[in-house]
């Protein structure tokens, strides 16, 4: 059963130096509040697993929390770059950064395998691309019925998964915001999990099982209203574009990023 705990305690307890940390969430519900706690707690040597690495990833890398990224997309505003990640990759600042990159289909299959207790997933993917030669977690498997060769990807079983959701009930059952993304799979694949929620209610209201995470499958729930800001506000797209542009300015410059980081770390 999930315990309902304060956010700082939850992150302090569940995210440990050196962990493989999956942080997932559709563009509207990115767990920024939890990620900022990771930065405040100065966690280091993390492997950050995230299908679409965006501003949140740029922040964790720039803050020196992550030494490795496992991802299938890493893009900033528009065609822009994520400057902190570029700086880490290109100049080892603030620390060198390793990458392991996949396609979205491959990452999804890895999470599904992890959530399903299987050691690998099978897909029609990667064929003819240069991705497998740089990614040890892609191999091939032969169909025992047809002889056909298909891509195999190793299961993802992160040490901890962090996602943000609309609400939880007082027993720690969580209503996800819909079936988008891989939030459910990340939580079920991980050894420990933290779900931050906008509100804690008596009754989750009407839901289908597809969008519910039962309490027994979660380690901790933390009440973090606005915990996905700046993502997830009303009119997500405009708001997101604005915040992306604002982040581009901060991220471009080490000194300016340093001031942002100080702001985050100052209580």
């Amino acid at each position: 059963m999930a315990t309902i705990v304060p956010l700082t305690d939850a992150v302090a307890d569940l995210v440990r130096d050196g962990d493989v940390v999956a942080v997932e969430g559709t563009p509207a519900l990115i767990p920024y509040a939890a990620a900022h706690e990771v930065i405040r707690l100065r966690r280091k040597d993390l492997t950050l697993v995230r299908m679409s690495v965006d501003v949140l990833g740029d922040q964790l890398v720039g803050a020196g929390c992550a030494r490795r990224l496992v991802f299938s997309w890493a893009g900033g505003p528009g065609e822009g770059a994520l400057h902190r990640i570029q700086d880490a990759l290109g100049h080892g600042w603030p620390a060198p950064l390793e990458i392991e990159e996949h396609s979205h289909a491959g990452m999804a299959a890895r999470y599904v395998a992890g959530a399903s207790g299987l050691p690998f997933g099978v897909l029609r993917g990667y064929a003819g691309t240069d991705l497998p030669q740089y990614t040890a977690s892609v191999r091939t498997v032969r169909c025992p019925f047809t002889g056909e060769e298909l891509a195999a990807v190793s299961a993802l079983n992160p040490d901890v998964a962090i996602v943000h959701a609309r609400r939880a009930d007082r027993s720690g059952n969580v209503l996800l915001d819909g079936p988008g993304g891989v939030c459910k799979e990340a939580v079920l694949a991980a050894h420990r999990s933290l779900v931050t929620v906008e509100e804690i209610v008596d009754d989750l209201g009407p839901a289908t099982g597809a969008t519910v995470l039962p309490s027994f499958a979660i380690t901790a729930v933390a009440h973090a209203p606005g915990g996905a800001a700046p993502s997830g506000a009303a009119g997500p797209h405009d708001r997101e574009d604005d915040s992306h542009r604002a982040w581009d300015e901060v991220s471009r410059d080490r000194a300016r990023f340093g001031r942002w980081l100080e702001g985050i770390r100052t209580p």
């Binding site: 299908m51 990640i85 990159e101 999804a108 599904v112 064929a127 691309t129 240069d130 988008g180 891989v182």
Partner: protein, 247 residues
């Protein structure tokens, strides 16, 4: 489209992006299912729905199935993309080569890249499995290269047999729509050849922006200019600047 008599000398009162978007929208038909990357590809699909293809179903990378709701990433990739049931995939890229392979990973060497790009997203499997692929890109010499630095999404690989040897079900790139014209694979070689230029664009201009010896179709067409109705509809959709990067 009209047959080319002589190269037009002026482009009309529309932007290059508008020409690409209109040309891409025209390739989509009602009743098809398409998956379109964010930005210009998505806008082309939306435009087609408003113009001539009201029953075009647009699936997007976040799992949205038209207006019918959203599925998770596992279902999107397994049941919808990988199954081969999507008619058209609209992709873009930082580089494309003579065989229609796309690169959205790195420029230069993988370990020491000149430019690190965003990566694969869903492009490898869209390129593998959709019945056909339409690529939209700005036509620039640095992007239209003989061989991409990194194959993120397979076109025809190194030649005509590669897709079949890999057991791919999708047909691969059927059309590359740029701000200068349209390229299509030569049926005999799978090399991309110029089959149309947009109004006001000359063949030499296209060749100058193409990093391989570009074959030109004997039946080279000139794209019909965007109609006022197409432009007005497109402009009613557009907010902000388009994003090109394949996702």
């Amino acid at each position: 489209m009209t047959t080319l008599d002589r190269p037009p000398t002026s482009s009309g009162p529309w932007t290059a992006d508008e020409m690409v978007t209109v040309a891409a929208a025209r390739t989509l038909r009602s009743g098809q299912a398409c998956i379109a990357a964010d930005g210009l590809p998505a806008r082309a699909a939306d435009l087609a729905r408003r113009l001539h293809a009201p029953d075009l179903l647009r699936i997007d990378g976040s799992g949205r199935i038209g207006d019918l709701g959203t599925v998770g990433a596992p279902e999107l990739h397994a049941y919808w993309i990988q199954s081969g049931r999507i008619d058209v995939g609209l992709l873009s890229g930082a580089q494309i080569d003579v065989f229609g392979n796309l690169n959205t990973t790195v420029l230069g060497d993988y370990a020491e890249p000149d430019v690190r790009l965003p990566g694969a997203g869903s492009a490898p499997e869209i390129a593998a499995s959709c019945r056909e692929i339409v690529v939209v890109m700005r036509h620039r010499l640095r992007a239209f290269v003989e061989r991409v630095d990194f194959v993120t999404a397979l076109g025809f690989g190194t030649g005509q047999l590669d897709r079949a040897l890999l057991g791919m079900r999708g047909g691969g790139p059927r059309r590359v729509i740029t701000d200068l014209g349209v390229l299509e694979p030569d049926p005999a070689t799978s090399e991309l050849a110029l089959t149309a230029v947009h109004p006001g664009v000359g063949v030499e201009q296209v060749r100058a922006e193409t990093g391989w010896t570009l074959e030109v179709s004997d039946d080279l067409l000139v794209t019909d200019p965007p109609t006022p109705h197409e432009l007005a509809t497109l402009r009613s959709l557009v907010t902000g600047s388009p994003e090109w990067q394949g996702r």
